[in-house]
Symmetry: C3
Amino acid sequence: MVKPLHPLLRNPVIPAKWRDGIERPQRLLDQVEEDPRYLVDLAGMPIVSARQFTRDRIAQVCRLAALYETSPNLFPPLKGKILINAFYEPSTRTRLSFESAWHRLGGDVMSITDPATTGIAKGESLGDVAEMFNHYGDVVVLRDRNEDAVYEMLDGLRIPIINAGNGVDEHPTQALTDMFAIFKWRPQLLAEHVADGDKARIGIIGVPNKMRTVRSLLIMLSLYAHAFEEVVVICEDDHPYDQGQLEELQQEGLNIRVSQSLNKELPQLDVVYINSIAWVGDTFERMGEDLKLNAKSPLKPGSIIMHPLARGKELSTDLDNTEHNWYFAQARGAVYIRMALLTSVVQRVQHVIDTPDELLS
Amino acid sequence: MVKPLHPLLRNPVIPAKWRDGIERPQRLLDQVEEDPRYLVDLAGMPIVSARQFTRDRIAQVCRLAALYETSPNLFPPLKGKILINAFYEPSTRTRLSFESAWHRLGGDVMSITDPATTGIAKGESLGDVAEMFNHYGDVVVLRDRNEDAVYEMLDGLRIPIINAGNGVDEHPTQALTDMFAIFKWRPQLLAEHVADGDKARIGIIGVPNKMRTVRSLLIMLSLYAHAFEEVVVICEDDHPYDQGQLEELQQEGLNIRVSQSLNKELPQLDVVYINSIAWVGDTFERMGEDLKLNAKSPLKPGSIIMHPLARGKELSTDLDNTEHNWYFAQARGAVYIRMALLTSVVQRVQHVIDTPDELLS
Amino acid sequence: MVKPLHPLLRNPVIPAKWRDGIERPQRLLDQVEEDPRYLVDLAGMPIVSARQFTRDRIAQVCRLAALYETSPNLFPPLKGKILINAFYEPSTRTRLSFESAWHRLGGDVMSITDPATTGIAKGESLGDVAEMFNHYGDVVVLRDRNEDAVYEMLDGLRIPIINAGNGVDEHPTQALTDMFAIFKWRPQLLAEHVADGDKARIGIIGVPNKMRTVRSLLIMLSLYAHAFEEVVVICEDDHPYDQGQLEELQQEGLNIRVSQSLNKELPQLDVVYINSIAWVGDTFERMGEDLKLNAKSPLKPGSIIMHPLARGKELSTDLDNTEHNWYFAQARGAVYIRMALLTSVVQRVQHVIDTPDELLS
């Protein structure tokens, strides 16, 4: 008669070692030689666009992220520093990943999550808000529906800002997270010369002119034209680009084309990047019915699926326990990549890796 | 002509020693012998139901809470740890008590208080939210109107979760807080054999099938059938139980009955537990007009009143300055009991009490 | 064809030394002799009204603020302490300045920013909320539209409270911030005897009976009747005072008059204090069209403009890069003055300045 205990309450939760292990980031560490120059150069730098990254910079940021991932007990280098999380567009995942990254590094966080409770409601200009932030914190993370907001604020800031999504324009730290996940899967892609057998074919299910994650990712991928055999954009449009967007990617040497047929492409793809939401003005539309993945999709053996999350129906949970699930590892990396970037931006690289004095002016 | 200063602004606020003193928790410390086994066993354990507690476990958690209450300067054992406070149902009191407990132990907190600002609004599953929490924090505290939410989330979690109220089902940390308050009042109730003169008669003004605090408290009380002469449930219903609920309590040996007349019972009650809100679906109803306490109620001399708070009109403020007011002491204990539980769940007991190495695997 | 990088993204942000330098607070330090008595006396004291400050207390609080401003690496004296930020009326600027101050001193913060997510929604009394705060934190910062809320809460508090704006009544920490900015501009005003040539004429564009910032500022200014030649209240009303308000200021010796013509007064004013919003019940009205400042206003050379911010159209941004802009320096000081006040109120002065044992009971 006594109500039995739910089976999940009988035992402590056990970390799934296969997913959280450190072998992957360790392989990335082995692949990239430490060079603090590209991190020190980030000190005080606003991070707004994927365009601000070179291959060396991406490699070193990923390396530091991998170092954090494999070394949980580094002395917290951001003790006494304050991050201002200004999320004028709803978000949990991105906001918490920045908060978590900052707290893991020993810093404190102040959040603005509801514009209705702020001076913004009183019509304060972003320039004045920026001036306030200068006095109150050490770095700003901004998400805003308005593409220009980050630039308006930047104009008045004397502390660094990180763009956590500005309308449909960019989301560079998500792109860094994506590259980190790809490089942990196949570190050889980081090499200057990539053997033919190591090159990857990536499919991106999404609309480049309506998805900021896709926009920033494509810009970063274009730096690795030598490592990616082909980029296939899979969506319902024939020409899903803004003016000049495709030409810019091609000029960088990226081999890119559009396809409408997901299932025709899947068997050839090493990396499948799927996204759910295309922004249309202030609202969004989901991807079409045919652009969904599940365990029956004709995925190439050994291929990985990535997703910036949160997911909708486009990505079935029946893939969660398959070898293709790389999206949870990708999510895990989101914290480490932000730890690396934040450490660099607030000029604390020298607290975690050896940095010659002459690099620190 | 100069406006006089408000009298409350003339002097510093002075702690009321009688209420915040340490004699009560000290007596509890004297009553219970330290045994870290029952705390170490909690490492990594989800805390969802009052059913997960044995008498030894309750005693040791209360003991550690009393240790925290009497020793304000213990080295903070949760430095570098992150608590995720996910409150999908409004709350201040419970949310802040967890935040305060965690901060007192040196840790950092990330909060989700408004579902509208979260990915939940986008229809993200609790399983995916759980996966995100795995990467971002060290323990989750969840309150949700939906009874099943905690189990759905638990299914995907690899860090411990603590149920801070799941619909009308359970609120186990409130029950621990209640037991802690009772044991500070009369530590002898913790003994294996309780003398007849020490046994207590407790009245619970509330509805066992609609109040999660009452449900969890009754489950814990049923472990102490030998210490409580009688439990009187006082409400307007004849049979205010879910199917099997009463039978389970009786099977544990609890001497329990229902009464509709508060004033008839009061003169015999040593402990009066009063509650204000009965959940009915997504909304709630207050208790009836006849189920109220004030300074004129026929309370037994020396008896104590408890209330999980926030209170409504059912508990008059004219009782605040009487000997019967045990609800403020109960509220104070809420922080310490959570400090004890959180320390155990994230496996840091060995930082605050001597723990043989062989207990730590 | 490759999209060019926005020019603001090319270089790190560079602090504007002229505005953030330490010469100004250093001059204030030189002016005031350290005397911990007036800070130690604040221990445990609720801070609700500008009336609670004497000249010595203001001077010592400003001195400690200047010490914090010039010494960024003091050991954080509030480690382990918890501030409860209870903002029942929307605010960013004031809320974040308290959070930032507290974090800079090493403490943790718990926030209540949305009454809808709190027990307040359930009709809990402020006395009960106060009782909860006693157990959960070390100091409360309260903003509430209701003038009496701070006193209702104070009645039940055993930890200090700081009034961050109670209706149209007072905002004493803003007034301290204002005085700090004035004294950094001209430290001689702090002297017991002020030479005629050093005295200042201040114009306050605002309505004393509808603006809490103006009310608290006037009370503090009345302590310095010997240092301010004249206070000119500039607004559209003839008699913009509550009953007894003007008389109280005059009784303290303040030379104060009302004027309707901004431009006629400006050429004679050393300090111009402008404010945007006059509260009328639960809503507000902006100041009239004629009461605006811009770069063409007939400002006295060397004069400073102050504004509690956020600003509306009453203060043109074309003044931002002129010598008259003292409002950004004022905003910067907001954090330091609160650091000084908080340190005093929670009795940690002795952690940052030498304090004889006999002062600490």
